[in-house]
Symmetry: C2
Subunit: 701 residues, 2 copies
């Protein structure tokens, strides 16, 4: 061999790591997917994506924004086939995987099918719905829609949107108008290059009176030529942090006339004479928000697992520094600190995955309940309370799970050392694509405060003796506020710890709120003033909730070697979070400083235990090389060969150096230039000055 | 007006925010720069950069990687003028600002002048140095160098590098060779497209014996044609997370012969006969590392200030949701939670800035000391101890300051809501460019462990009664381990708190280490086992160090309205960190839970207080619109107009839609395709099957 490779190779090492796992990898994978059917479907989807020409991803880091968008449109066109042929639940599973493979495309797809069609489903009359379907909304053959809600100056405050829709009774039309720059529709996915219609959220004005924000379907472009229609100005928002595949645009309407029937009238109707009938306070659209949040919690788990697959496989085969006496350098994953960096995050990703499963079940149950619920139902109030609680818990889950995933991606990236800075590691792109999850569908900080506000309400209810929904029942549990550890550090002990600490954090926020109210502040101001305490309450409650969901998921399974692993991971997750939140556990004295020392030692031991089977555990995440798309995360562990091959394939040496002649050669070949002594060059200027100024006043130097 | 703009505009609002600050903005700026001279120079540099054609930055987010590299080379060529004409200290100030304006270019420049020239300065004999200077190393007119240390399989473990340099006594040459893939030089800045020479770190082998890693200057390219020399293979590492302006490459050497004199021989000499003379254990190169780390601490402060300028100005003018009774929506910065998100980070950036100033002074003093230190000096040991302590403290500072800055950038980005996802906010690029600071020049986690190890050594010294250098003197302070708060929450109280808590954390690590040693582990294994405790000790010590540096900087200044502001910021920084580290403060009982409740309330109050002058405070960071390069961070507060203008300027509507005809039109205009019932189309296949199978066995469905 010309270049004899040192042994063991990284591939040898990863193979050794896979020998004799203490569990069956496939069985553990099935538990995490929820069912064997789900795993089989996922594998089928991954196979299809790996061979699909539009989903080629070996070159994505070197594409221009325009090339990425074109690829996205190709994917869009090809995915329509599945929409029209697959059952909804199978298609949803497919799209969930697509979201991990290509977040930008998933967004593009979701803009039409989730947001635009969702707006129609939620707010169109039967006749209106039928019209749009007839005209090609479901098959993209006639209508490609976008969701024009956000404006340049208004994001979170939807009620404050400034686009106007003014009724013209004479012509039976609404006039859609952007009154000033700040009202420009902004961030509208698909608008820049790929849609024909928009669901436009605008302030409805009739006879000079404002009726609030309503939804209008407005054609933007002529479908046959794609030129923008009169009064429509569309621009491209351009380069983003990530997800360049979706072409976000801005839209300005300048006195655009649309028929009255463009208003979606399921809840708000406007007659020919401009008479408005609005529904009584409509049931809050809990269902819609919950679905999106469930999806984001799931995505947080799978994306974290994707990042951890890269980091753990890399750490298992990368060697650096030999320990005393050894010739072979030590695998990174054998360093206690490296175990600490990654393995609690592995436990967290698994915990969030089980939480997503449970949340999905809750979402299904709730959708059914909302469909069948009658005002006469004896369980009506209890069901509504449960709905509300799940709704606000999902707000906290969305916030803290997406933050956790983003943090995981960056920690995985840094754990790769220098190679984590290469685009081809895929971790920079994963970070850039995922980051928006912390902002859209509700800014994480605002959602956390909402969750905290609901907890304060629940606490105040508990104080009055109300029966609480299951997720917050601990707030009314006798003795929970003064509880102490039973010293076992068992899963039950940790679950009780979270209940105690969360309850005290909620109580603190509620007491602060009450104090501000007593001091004369109105409800809003009092809530604002206890923001920090509300945030903390939401955080501890949510993390405890994840832990308890994981714990109860395991309890529902039959004991096996696989549930032993899950139990270890649950211990690791719970105790690691106790460490992370140690201040709060010590604040309430549930745990003493001595307990925390034991916790730290136990976490060290659990990390060492999990390290023994880290590679098969990562294998049970069941993600294909194509989905992971990183030379450092390949199943075969060929980190150096795969990285080198990808780098060389993506960066062929150009025949001609792009700027040697123009910029480098002149630099290299110039003579030593010093600053000339110009004065001396000019024949001794200083001497001249001395002579001349001797005749008059002194020259200024 | 066609589009009457709502009042007050964002510009009006920012103007109002600047009215009547309780301090003089320029005076506060001077304190943060260190001197009026430094501020004046900075303003001069910023003016020059703003008008320099190569430093145009309004279009950087839409450039291709190749275009960015070409621009970087233009900057490189133009900066040479200043190198050769300015004094060193002025030039260093200039480059520090350039680093904030364009991290990729700063890197490109630093590779030659910092790393390559640094290697020559550090390891070349006088004659060798003179040779390379004569051949154009200082003016780039003959030699452009790179620093070929890192390999594909070796980063942190420099002693493990695998490139070989084998002496051929017959020809008086060294043969440089890359024995296998993993030994390929990797991440070599400048190698891909812009260098002629490399300082190559290789294992020196003479007569079959290994002498360790030495440095060789190896020509890579013919300067007149730029073709690679025989045996040299160079490739492009390609797309990175950020800093695409620097062209990192890989280098493989295949039996490349260089004269023996290519070995830099200041410390290691090799004679014609191949006889090696090495120095006794050379004084550790404290100075070189300290300089780089000081620069990174400074960069962490200025880059954080750049991000916070964007976030605070945006928050001051962006309005969302009106409070009860108001028509005007509330400025984001008036929400307590938003104050919490940003203002402690502002205090931190200022604290790190003052720490950098002090570190710089220490670095100057140390450089002088190293130059003049004689073995006979009575203060020799003390000086060396002080050097070592500053060295390991700087390791912790590099780690925790760069992590803090990266976290600040992302928090600032998220605080902009949706607009933070636009590339033009500049925050995504700042994140991508800064992230590498957590990895290069020492991985942050490894550096933290080094700092922790040194603290354990210091503790063990204190236990034996040794006199400790100032930075760790608290470890020997009587009564510090059991100290309790004096209830004041003053700066002194907080400083003592940090000393107490850090001391206990260090003690814990030292006791663990001792325990492992007693149990029979060797030193290395014992150190590995207490990694987590070492990490925690380093973290608390370092944050306490930053706080104390800030506190003592203020104490050295004359009282003024400006020092009042700095005192408030120091309180905010210190108490906020107490909150962040509350678990550790409660663990040692320096603070009680009741204290922590007061701390939380005080932090709320301090945030509200700082909010009153947040905008003038940000103005005192003295960064030009050009440096900040964000429409959301402009001095005039014109967030919407500037953003809109940048988006439209960067994304002109193309005359022809790039893919409408090919991809969208076919989709829109296709007929409703259903899945044909193929069986029915084939003339009733099922009926046929029934007929045919009636004659034989049943057909399988």
């Amino acid at each position: 061999m010309a270049f004899p490779r040192p042994k063991p190779t990284t591939m040898d090492t990863l193979t050794m790591e896979r020998a004799n796992p203490p569990f069956n990898v496939r069985k553990l994978a099935i538990l995490q997917e929820g069912s064997e059917r789900a795993l089989v479907l996922k594998e089928k989807f991954m196979a299809e994506l790996a061979r699909h020409p539009a989903f080629k991803n070996s070159d994505i880091h070197d594409l221009s924004k325009d090339e990425v968008r074109e690829r996205t449109m190709e994917k869009f066109a090809s995915m329509v086939h599945f929409v029209t042929t697959e059952s909804l639940d199978v298609f949803q599973l497919r799209m969930q995987l697509v979201g991990v493979a290509d977040p930008a495309f998933w967004t593009r797809f979701g803009v039409h099918y989730g947001l635009f069609i969702g707006a129609l489903r939620g707010q169109a009359t039967n006749g209106q719905m039928a019209y749009y379907i007839e005209h090609g909304a479901l098959g993209l053959n006639g209508i490609i829609g976008c969701f024009a809600m956000t404006e340049l100056a208004h994001g979170s405050n939807v009620a404050g949107l400034e686009t106007t829709a003014t009724f013209d009774e004479e012509t039976d039309e609404f006039i859609i108008h952007t009154p000033h720059l700040g009202a420009t529709k902004w961030w509208i996915g698909g608008a820049a290059q790929t849609v024909t219609h928009a669901a436009v959220f605008a302030q409805m004005i009739i006879g000079g009176k404002k009726y609030g924000v309503k939804t209008f379907v407005v054609p933007l472009r002529d479908p046959s030529t794609f030129t923008t229609l009169p009064g429509i100005t569309i621009g491209d928002i351009g380069k983003k942090m990530g997800r360049d595949g979706i072409d976000n645009g801005y839209i300005q309407f300048t006195y655009v006339r649309v028929p009255r029937a463009s208003l979606l009238m399921k809840y708000t109707q406007v007659t020919r004479q401009g008479l408005v009938s609005e529904p009584p306070l409509a049931q809050l659209a809990y269902g819609a928000l919950l679905g999106g949040r469930t999806s984001m919690v799931s995505d947080s788990s799978v994306t974290a697992k994707k990042a951890l697959t890269i980091a753990v496989r890399y750490a298992s085969v990368r060697r650096q520094f030999a320990q005393r006496g050894n010739k072979l350098e030590t695998q990174l994953i054998d360093y206690p600190i490296h175990q600490r960096r990654l393995l609690p995050l592995v436990a967290q990703a698994v915990a969030v995955g089980f939480t997503a499963q449970k949340l999905n079940v809750m979402y299904q149950e709730m959708t059914e309940a909302l469909d069948t619920l009658k005002p006469s139902d004896p369980n009506l109030l209890e069901t509504i309370e449960k709905l509300k609680e799940t709704h606000s818990t999902s707000a906290g889950l969305k916030a803290f799970c997406t933050w956790a995933c983003l943090d995981t991606i960056e920690k995985c990236r840094q754990s790769l050392g220098g190679h984590g800075y290469s685009a081809y590691s895929n971790l920079p792109a994963m970070y850039a694509d995922f980051a928006v999850q912390c902002t859209w569908e509700g800014d994480n900080t605002i959602l956390s405060l909402q969750a905290g506000r609901a907890l304060v309400s629940s606490y105040n209810g508990a104080v009055k003796g109300a029966k609480l929904p299951p997720g917050v029942a601990y707030l009314g549990e006798k003795g929970i506020y003064d509880a102490k550890s039973d010293d076992s550090l068992s899963l039950d002990d940790v679950a009780r710890a979270f209940s105690c600490v969360a309850a005290n954090a909620v109580k603190k926020a509620a007491v602060e709120y009450g104090g501000h109210r007593k001091a004369g502040l109105n409800k809003e101001d009092a809530m604002e003033r206890c923001s920090q305490s509300r945030f903390i309450a939401a955080k501890i409650h949510t993390i405890g909730y994840i832990f308890k969901m994981f714990k109860s998921s395991i309890a529902e399974l039959e004991n096996s070697a696989e549930t032993d692993v899950l139990t270890t991971l649950a211990k690791l997750y719970g105790l690691w979070q106790v460490e992370e939140l140690r201040g709060w556990f010590l604040q309430t004295s549930y745990f003493t400083p001595a307990h925390l020392d034991r916790v730290q030692q136990t976490v060290d031991e659990l990390c060492l235990a999990v390290r023994q089977y880290a590679v098969p555990l990562i294998d049970s995440f069941a993600l294909s090389d194509h989905i992971i798309n990183s030379p450092f995360g390949k199943f075969d562990g060929s980190i150096y060969e795969s990285y080198f091959n990808q780098v060389t394939a993506s960066n062929p040496t150009p025949k001609v150096h792009p700027y040697f002649d123009r910029l480098i050669k002149p630099l290299l070949t110039r003579q030593n230039d010093g600053i000339e002594d110009l004065g001396a060059e000019m024949g001794g200027l200083d001497e001249e000055i001395a002579r001349l100024s001797g005749a008059g006043k002194k020259a200024d130097k």
